[in-house]
């Protein structure tokens, strides 16, 4: 309760009693709600074995098939997310450094680029990349893997690199100004100060925010399932499975759980890294830009 101590005084015996009664009442209310939902599900036959067996009963002939497809989907999701985050990191650092190092005039196109892709919904960016590349006849099949993967990865990179550029800028902004001044005073050039003094420290501060961004990227890969891009990642596989098994609730529950477990583990990792660093992360260090950690789609 230490977190909420700003709201309440240390509780006395009466407050403790009231809290206990409230806990019991609320618990009963939640239980009642839960029972209602379960009854409704049972009423609708959602607990029927044939809906769950393909997922949980190894003796059904679909079991191994279904999990193999999920495995493929998960691999596709992870590949797309990994490519997107690595590319975003590279492009994002370039953009961020360009924004910080270029002069007032040269900076304008970089700032415009960043504002443009930060303001666009990522789903629009992905579709735009896909359709525009096809329409312009630009062939991405020289790249390894299927074209659909690259439409997704390029779309995600356009959005996330811009976010990473802003995280980087906030990270450099959160460093004491004496760091840069000292670097310049000992005779380093602007570029050297950025490369060997500011960026290494900024990366350390950025790491938790970067991991949170990976959660966003993972979630955003599932956008292909609503735009009809033929990349068979986890959610799209899940939808295809649920269509052939005709069990949307069960299938979505499983696919959702997989996403939640991975993302939960990543956010815990981000928290752990942040604690280990013993410093405030970029987002709470109050750069002038607020970095929305972890929302995405």
């Amino acid at each position: 309760m230490s977190q909420t101590s700003v709201l309440y005084d240390a509780p006395g015996p009466r407050a403790v009693r009231r809290a206990r009664v409230g806990t019991a009442v609320a618990l009963l209310a939640f239980l009642g709600l839960g029972v209602l939902v379960v009854l409704r599900l049972a009423d609708r036959g959602q607990f029927d074995a044939e809906l769950w067996n393909p997922w949980f009963n190894p003796s059904t002939d679909t079991f191994s098939q279904v999990w193999e497809l999920v495995g493929k989907g998960l691999a596709a999701t992870l590949i797309a997310a990994a490519l997107a985050i690595v590319l975003s990191l590279v492009v994002g650092v370039l953009l961020g450094v360009a924004r910080m190092m270029l002069g007032r005039v040269l900076r304008v196109p970089v700032v415009a680029w960043i504002e443009l892709f930060r303001g666009l919904p990522v789903v629009v960016t992905i579709v735009f990349v896909w359709r525009a590349l096809v329409e312009l006849g630009i062939d991405v099949s020289v790249l390894p893997g299927e074209p659909a993967l690259w439409y997704l990865v390029i779309g995600l990179t356009l959005y996330n690199s811009v976010i990473i550029a802003e995280i980087l800028r906030a990270g450099v902004g959160s460093l004491p100004s004496g760091q840069r001044e000292a670097a310049l005073a000992v005779g380093l050039t602007n570029g050297q100060a950025m490369r060997s003094i500011l960026l290494p420290q900024a990366f350390r501060v950025m790491l938790p925010a970067l991991i949170s961004q990976l959660v966003v990227v993972l979630k955003d890969t599932s956008l292909v399932a609503v735009i009809g891009l033929g990349y068979l990642e986890l959610l799209r596989r899940g939808n295809l499975i649920s269509q052939s098994l005709d069990n949307p609730i069960q299938s979505l529950l499983i696919i959702g759980t997989i996403f939640i477990v991975i993302n939960y583990a990543l956010s815990k990792l981000a928290e752990y890294v942040e604690r280990r660093m013993g410093r405030a992360s970029v987002s709470s260090a109050g750069g002038d830009e607020q970095v929305p950690a972890g929302q995405g789609a």
Binding site: G119, S222, I255
Partner: protein
């Protein structure tokens, strides 16, 4: 750019429809998010547990899955309504988790000494809350809440892509698939529509932030 200029009325309708998705989701997510935040800071343990479970599950689940669950899961339970309602409800649920965290971080940003001082001069709980803690917490909540809501504005495009019909996204769909226009000009029009929304919201947020900023 003819496909865009000739069909400005279609874009305009879509723009308004998108704004209505955004408007309902804004109100709904603020209400639901505030409720969950109240759960998360309440002295009642089971409400706190529910609040953190909600945030953990919803925040780590892609919006697309929430939407699929609304549109394909709920009908299995006999709940049938339009895709519009499903879409807006899904967006509200998804955004509420982030709203809750923004509000909670705002409350936590008020130092405990403020409330202790208020109690020390004899203010009762309600006055401590309404006169001392909340006014500061709400100001600290504005910037994160603003970015959460702008992200929601962008996510309204996902709801559109999901098939609400009649919104900015669907305007693009209609022009490209039904009327066979090229994608690049049509999607440029769609992108401009969303940019108008997000960039003006960003500018508005900057103004509000300056107004409520407190020197600490």
């Amino acid at each position: 750019m003819e496909p865009v200029l000739d069909n400005l009325d279609l874009y305009w309708e879509g723009f308004l429809r998108s704004l209505s998705i955004i408007g309902w989701s804004l109100v709904g997510s603020l209400l639901l998010g505030t409720l969950i935040a109240a759960f998360r800071v309440s002295p009642v343990a089971s409400l706190r547990a529910f609040g953190s479970a909600w945030v953990t599950v919803v925040r780590n689940c892609p919006l697309t899955i929430v939407l699929f669950f609304m549109a394909f899961g709920l009908p299995e339970l006999g709940i049938n309504t339009s895709f519009y309602v499903f879409g807006v409800a899904g967006l509200i649920i998804y955004t509420s988790a982030f709203v809750c965290e923004a509000i909670r971080s705002g409350i936590n940003s008020v130092s405990a000494g403020q409330a202790e001082a208020a109690r020390a001069i004899g203010l009762p709980f309600t006055q401590t809350l309404t006169q001392v803690v909340l006014p500061q917490a709400l100001r600290a909540t504005v910037p994160p809440l603003g970015s959460v809501q702008i992200a929601m504005f962008k996510n309204s495009a996902v709801v559109g892509a999901f098939g609400v019909g009649g919104d900015l996204w669907s305007a693009g769909q209609t022009l490209t698939s039904a009327r066979g226009f090229a994608y690049i000009p049509v999607l440029t029009g769609v992108a401009i529509g969303y940019l108008v929304i997000t960039l003006s919201a960003g500018a508005l947020l900057a103004v509000i932030e300056r107004k409520v900023a407190i020197a600490r």
